[in-house]
C-alpha cells in the first residue's frame, strides 16, 4: 500500500516536471549552430545528400562505432544467456516435461499461406534491405535500418520453416569480418585523410550518385551486414529449440 503511494507520488512529481517542460516549450524557428553548420557544409564537405547519415557515419562516427559495439555486446549477452546448458540429473524430470512441451510446439508446421508468402517475399525482403543500406547516403535509410530489414527476412524464414538451420559459423564469420573492416576503414581515415572514420579516403565522386560520398556507402555496407547478421543470430537464439553449438 505504502509502496503504491510512493509510486503515485513519484509519478505525480514527474508529471508536474513534464507539464512545466511542455508548457515552456517553444518551437525552434531556426537551426542550432551545430545543426546549421552541418546543413550548410555537410553536403560539400562529405558529398552526402542525407545529412543524418553524414552526422551518424562521419561527424559522429566514433559514436556509431560505439553503438555497433553495444549491439555486438548485447547480441553476445543474449547468446551467453540463452546458450544450451548441460542438463543436470536433478532437473531431468522437469526438463523432460519441458522438452515434450517444446517439441509439440515446434513441430507444428506453418500454414500454407505463410510458407508460400515467405518463398515469394524472402528474396525481395533481403534485396530491399541491401537497397536500403546501399542508398543510406542518398535517401532515408542506412546500415541499421537495412540490417533490421534483413533480420526481418530471417524472422520470416523462422516463422515459415521453424526447422530451418541457420549456420552460426557463417554468422560469426560475416559479423566479425564486417566489424573488422569497419575499424580498418576508420584507421585508413587517420592515415589517408583528416582523422578517424573520415570518409574522404575514397574520391567523393559525382554528388548524388550511388557510388559517391567517399567511404560512407562502404561503411554502411559493413554496418548493414553486421547488424543484419547480429539480429538474425539474436532471433535464432530466441527460438525454442536450440540447434547446438555452431
Amino acid at each position: 500500500m505504502i509502496k503504491r503511494l510512493f509510486i503515485l507520488m513519484m509519478l505525480a512529481v514527474m508529471a508536474v516536471i513534464f507539464l512545466n517542460l511542455a508548457g515552456n516549450y517553444r518551437e525552434n524557428t531556426e537551426l542550432s549552430r551545430l545543426g546549421h553548420y552541418y546543413a550548410e557544409n555537410g553536403p560539400q564537405e562529405l558529398g552526402a545528400p542525407n545529412l543524418v547519415t553524414a552526422v551518424v557515419v562521419t561527424y559522429r562516427g566514433l559514436d556509431t562505432l560505439g553503438e555497433v559495439t553495444v549491439l555486438f555486446i548485447s547480441a553476445a549477452g543474449v547468446g551467453l544467456l540463452l546458450r544450451r546448458t548441460r542438463r543436470k540429473q536433478d532437473d531431468e524430470d522437469l526438463e523432460q516435461g519441458d522438452r515434450a512441451e517444446e517439441t509439440a510446439g515446434v513441430h507444428k508446421p506453418a500454414s500454407e499461406i505463410v510458407e508460400t508468402a515467405t518463398e515469394l517475399l524472402l528474396p525481395m525482403v533481403i534485396l530491399f534491405g541491401i537497397y536500403v543500406f546501399l542508398n543510406g547516403h542518398l535517401s532515408p535509410g542506412g546500415g541499421f535500418q537495412g540490417g533490421a530489414i534483413i533480420a526481418s527476412g530471417t524472422m520470416f524464414l523462422l516463422l515459415a520453416l521453424p526447422e530451418s538451420h541457420i549456420s552460426r559459423l557463417m554468422i560469426a564469420v560475416i559479423e566479425s569480418l564486417s566489424g573488422f573492416s569497419y575499424v580498418v576503414v576508420g584507421v585508413l581515415g587517420v592515415l589517408l585523410a583528416g582523422g578517424f572514420l573520415d570518409n574522404r579516403i575514397i574520391d567523393p565522386g559525382t554528388y548524388g550518385a550511388l557510388f559517391s560520398a567517399g567511404a560512407i556507402p562502404l561503411i554502411y555496407v559493413f554496418v548493414g551486414l553486421k547488424v543484419g547478421f547480429e539480429l538474425s543470430a539474436v532471433l535464432d537464439r530466441f527460438r525454442k529449440e536450440d540447434t547446438g553449438p555452431l
Binding site: 525552434n28 543524418v52 548485447s74 549477452g77 544467456l81 547488424v227
Partner: protein
C-alpha cells in the same frame, strides 16, 4: 478541432512522448510480470525518442535530406536539425539491444523458476 490544428506539431509529439514516458514508468513500477515490465521499458524508451525528435523540429522544416525539393543553397533554412535525428537513430539501436538482453534474462529466470513473476525472485531483494 481548431485547438489541435493551432498547436505546433512538435508540441503534440513532445506531449505524447512525455505521456508515454509516464505510462512506461508506471508499468515498470507497478507490474509484477517481467514481460510487462519490459513492455513498460520499451514504452519509456519510445517516449524519450519522441521527445528528442520533437526538440529537433524547426517550424516548417522538412527532412534533412538534400534533393530536388531542398536545394543545397536553401538547406540551412529549410531542414530540421539533423543532430537529434542521428542521436535517436543511435538510441533506438541501443534500446533494441537492451530489450533483447532483458528478454533473455526473463527467459533464463523462467527456465529456472517456471514463473515470470518478479515476487518469486526474493534472493536479490534487499
Amino acid at each position: 478541432m481548431s485547438l489541435i490544428a493551432d498547436t505546433p506539431i512538435s508540441l503534440i509529439v513532445l506531449c505524447s512522448g512525455l505521456a508515454l514516458v509516464l505510462i512506461g514508468l508506471w508499468g515498470m513500477l507497478t507490474q509484477r510480470n517481467m514481460i510487462r515490465m519490459i513492455v513498460g521499458f520499451s514504452l519509456t524508451d519510445t517516449g524519450v525518442h519522441m521527445v528528442m525528435v520533437s526538440i529537433g523540429y524547426v517550424t516548417g522544416g522538412t527532412a534533412p535530406i538534400i534533393n530536388d525539393a531542398v536545394p543545397i543553397a536553401e538547406a540551412a533554412s529549410r531542414v530540421v536539425d539533423p543532430v537529434p535525428s542521428a542521436l535517436v537513430l543511435t538510441a533506438i539501436v541501443i534500446g533494441l539491444g537492451v530489450t533483447a538482453v532483458m528478454l533473455s534474462v526473463a527467459i533464463r529466470i523462467y527456465k529456472a523458476r517456471r514463473t515470470l513473476m518478479i515476487d518469486e525472485c526474493t534472493e536479490s531483494k534487499w
